[in-house]
């Protein structure tokens, strides 16, 4: 685009050895000191761009066409050796999972020391001094002690700071950040993003920011490129693409994400799934056409040209002008939700859970995971629990389903005392939807057998025919076709698997359903499907739901009430709108502020001081 770019990628193709394209004709350019966001769902190929620059493409993949130019040098023509010299020194990396990026057997100091030695600081004392400087720059406390600690002694947020410090240590011209905040808690996410933005300014570095999160990209990036099925469908200024997209896919993505402000609007649901590499090869027209609400005949026949819709804003669509008219379908009976009943399905009073730990002398120490929880979930009520990792959310679910024992207080589940009632009484009444459908569905069972699994050990052995009918009925409830019953989990997409997971939990007509982070691993468009499904089930409302999530917008979209948990205690509870709209507890305020994102205003510097703790 501009005559002077730090990174310029031109018509880059990456293909499998079989010839199927993973990336097709990718053009990107980053101007000095700018942040370019690459947005895409899983399978779009966004990480491949970073991998192509870093020369770490997975085996079987290779660049088949195009060039990557970095600061006037053509990376794709370089020998492996010269290229390696460039990486880490002129191009820095911030990885996705800070917890696995550092060697657990070496101290943080040794690892940053090696990196500094590599970028040319020969003297050990100088290296230590520089490391301490860098650590203070990224806001880490007591940097000198930090050098001697091992990675497992630090939290995820601290590790990511260490890695950011390393990435910026050599004043690189370019930093590639591949989903740097995905593995972190919400409040830490905000700080890490803030930090990357600040480091970029201080070092005048360009950043390639790869993410699946539209909102995050809007906060961080100057320019944004939206990737779909290996092609860039839209590029332009971040605000324009978020607020006034000119490609249907970008619009659908932003309509599919639940929001924290404004009315709870229905989410945009995209039919089908993103085509894979092999399917794409067979398509002649636009890869998005089969899912596009604005597509017509021409879209499936000819590939859309990439053209500027306004200066600096490029869209690859036949009809960019149709984009703004796309809206999610209205709900059939909007707003008319069944009122929750009076009877309590779940009641906790002074509920606590303590783990006993023995140290090497045999002394017993009690660790309180939960302390004095008081709450009620009424019939047909959807309640959300929000909190960060370590807040005790998962321990609470384990208590409710009976995987752990209550140590203090009382817990009444479906009117029965959890501690004194035998396990069998709860089996059909309380069901759990697991977080990871991959792990929760036995890969060797067919879907039909999976969804009716809970009937298998009941006395009234259902006949094969009745069981099939029930399976079809359950699949219909979660909007899956009846022929899915004969397939195996591996033949379904992530979203479909999660729906099977939900259908299975509904099989025994439970009175209480517990959903533990059931959308956190899913893409935005798939998450929208699941959230709308939960909304739909809520209208029929035959059960109560306890939805555990770290994402406030998700909870707001589905639930009536919310409990905010922090360090094993409920710090605030109440109706969703009230808690998120006017939070009273400082922790809730912090959560809500983090979820709202960085205000795009000038008070950034004022906030920095308070944020860097």
């Amino acid at each position: 685009m501009t005559s002077h770019s730090i990174l310029q990628i031109e018509s880059l193709d990456i293909a499998l050895r079989s010839g199927d394209a993973i990336l097709t004709g990718v053009d990107l350019a980053i101007a000095p000191g700018k942040v370019l966001g690459v947005i895409g769902e899983s399978g779009a190929g966004k990480s491949m761009i970073g991998a192509a620059i870093a020369d770490t493409l997975p085996p079987g993949l290779a660049i088949s066409r195009g060039s990557i130019r970095f600061d006037g040098l053509t990376l794709t023509d370089m020998t492996a050796r010269t290229r390696r010299d460039l990486l880490g020194r002129d191009i820095g990396f911030i990885p996705q999972e800070p917890m696995t990026a550092l060697n657990p057997t070496l101290t943080v100091g040794q690892q940053i020391g090696r990196h500094l030695a590599r970028i040319g600081i020969a003297n050990r004392a100088t290296r230590d001094k520089r490391a301490i400087e860098l650590f203070s720059e990224v806001g880490l406390d007591r940097p000198a002690q930090l050098l001697k600690s091992y990675p497992h002694q630090l939290s995820g947020g601290m590790l990511q700071r260490v890695l950011i410090a390393m990435a910026f240590a050599s004043n690189p011209r370019l930093v590639i950040a591949d989903e740097p905040t995905t593995a972190l808690d919400v409040t830490i996410q905000a700080k890490v993003v803030e930090l990357i933005a600040r480091m970029r300014q201080a070092h005048d570095t360009s950043v390639l920011f790869i993410t699946h999160d539209l909102q995050l990209a809007a906060d961080v990036c100057d320019d944004v490129a939206v990737l779909y099925a290996g092609r860039i469908v839209e590029t332009g200024r971040a605000e324009e693409i978020i607020d006034a997209p000119r490609h249907p896919y970008s619009r659908c993505l932003s309509l599919a994400a639940p929001n924290l402000d404004g009315p709870v609007a229905p989410l945009m649901i995209l039919p089908k799934a993103m085509p894979g590499a092999v399917e794409r090869a067979a398509m002649r027209g636009c890869a998005f056409a089969p899912r596009c609400p604005a597509a017509d005949e021409a879209c499936t026949r000819t590939p859309p040209p990439r053209r500027a819709v306004s200066p600096g804003h490029v869209s690859a669509c036949h009809y960019p002008e149709r984009t703004s008219a796309i809206a999610p379908p209205a709900r059939r009976n909007a707003g008319d939700l069944a009122a929750p009943g009076e009877a309590a399905v779940l009641r906790a009073q002074g509920l606590g859970k303590a783990y006993r730990q023995h140290d090497w002398l045999g002394r017993v120490r009690e660790v309180e995971a939960l302390r004095g929880l008081d709450f009620t979930v009424r019939e047909r009520e959807f309640v959300g629990i929000v909190g960060e990792s370590g807040s005790g959310k998962s321990t609470l679910t384990k208590l409710i389903v009976g995987l752990e024992n209550v140590t203090s207080g009382t817990l009444h589940v479906v009117g029965l005392d959890r501690t004194s009632t035998p396990r069998e009484r709860f089996f059909d009444q309380v069901q759990l939807v697991f977080q990871d459908p991959q792990s929760a569905l036995n890969p060797r069972r067919r879907i039909g057998s999976l969804v009716t699994q809970s009937l298998e050990c009941r006395g009234n052995g259902l006949a094969a025919k009745a069981r099939r009918e029930l399976a079809a009925e359950l699949l219909a409830k979660v909007m899956l076709p009846p022929d899915a019953a004969d397939r195996f989990p591996d033949q379904l997409s992530g979203g479909q698997k999660q729906r099977v997971n939900i259908a299975r939990a509904l099989c025994s007509n439970p009175r209480l359903l517990i959903a533990d982070e059931i959308v956190s691993g899913l893409d935005v468009s798939v998450q929208a499907q699941i959230l709308e499904l939960l909304r739909g089930l809520r209208e029929q409302a035959s059960f109560s739901l306890l939805l555990i999530s770290h994402d406030l917008a998700v909870v707001r979209h589905v639930c009536d009430r919310v409990l905010v948990m922090c360090k094993g205690e409920i710090v605030e509870q109440g109706p969703v709108e009230q808690v998120f709209g006017a939070p009273r507890h400082p922790y809730t305020m912090q959560l809500v502020a983090a979820a709202r994102g960085r205000p795009r205003s000038d008070d950034r510097h004022a906030r920095e001081a308070s944020d860097l703790s």
């Binding site: 050990c457 009941r458 299975r504």
Partner: protein, 284 residues
């Protein structure tokens, strides 16, 4: 589709073919062998095989010092070897797998107990243990089988236990418990199908090991009785005349070598095609 990917693994195909051939020889021994293995033809003592200068067509692979036909003895030897290998591997698998599932599934004290038992068992030299067992029990095919089972179940137990632990950590196992499946049902319906590929692979590898152990025991005359032809015994018999009639020594060694190699290749091939991680690489 699955079958094609299986056939594209050379180790699996070659190993499987040879192993199948050996098994077929074992089953059809009475019809395949030209003579009874213990019949003596005193006109031909230490006859060389047919391709050697003095070879005769009556005895294709020659005879031993008692005038017994080497080919027939090899074929019947395969029968003994396979009988022992199949029964012993199956026994070791059954014992090891049951204990492994119990240890891996229940964990805690059960796991502690079974794991310590395996460790104690493994610290005892296996050859000495099997010889002690034979001395105690006496010679016989069934005794050899028992000795191998009692020595080798630990191998199954160790490897499978960690496999069970991995599957145990999957959420679908927790779910089965939460909807009220009994422990045994969870093990049989949810865990066992997942460990079965590993079990089959280990079984194939154990077949090779059992053939070697059986040969060692018959070599030192602590295996099968003297009237049952066995490869180890043939090696022991041919040892005395090894300079005059080297073929009598080489052929049974070759038989053992090829058999063990084929089971190892087959087992390795099975491990490759049954490994879900390997299969997952197929579609990126």
């Amino acid at each position: 589709m699955r079958i094609w990917s299986w056939l594209s693994d050379p180790g699996l195909v070659i190993g499987g073919a040879i192993a199948g051939l050996v098994l077929a020889c074992a089953v059809c021994a009475p019809w395949l062998a030209p003579y009874h293995p213990n019949d003596q033809d005193l006109l031909y003592i230490l006859a060389p095989p047919v391709w050697a200068p003095d070879g005769a067509a009556e005895h294709l692979l020659g005879t031993d010092s008692l005038g017994r036909d080497t080919l027939s003895r090899l074929i019947f030897g395969a029968r003994t070897a396979m009988e022992v290998a199949v029964a012993a591997s199956f026994g070791a698998m059954a014992l090891g797998a049951v204990l492994a599932h119990l240890a891996g599934y229940f964990g805690g004290r059960v796991d502690w107990l079974i794991s310590r038992l395996v460790e104690i068992w493994l610290s005892f030299p296996p050859v000495v243990l099997s010889m002690l067992l034979i001395i105690g029990l006496g010679v016989g095919t069934d005794k050899v089988i028992l000795a191998i089972v009692l020595v080798d179940w630990t191998r199954f137990c160790r490897v499978l236990r960690s496999e069970v632990q991995v599957v145990r950590g999957q959420d679908y196992v927790s779910f089965a418990r939460l909807v009220g499946f009994a422990h045994m049902r969870v093990i049989v319906r949810e865990i066992f199908p997942a460990t079965l590929p590993m079990l089959i692979t280990l079984f194939s590898l154990q077949m090779g090991i059992s053939v070697v152990v059986e040969a060692i025991l018959s070599f030192v005359a602590m295996g099968v009785p003297a009237d049952v032809p066995a490869w180890g015994q043939m090696i022991a018999d041919a040892r005395i005349n090894m300079f005059d009639a080297p073929w009598g020594l080489a052929l049974p060694i070759l038989a053992i070598f090829v058999t063990v190699l084929s089971f190892n290749l087959f087992g390795d091939g099975l491990r490759r095609v049954l490994d879900p991680r390997h299969r997952a690489n197929g579609h990126v």
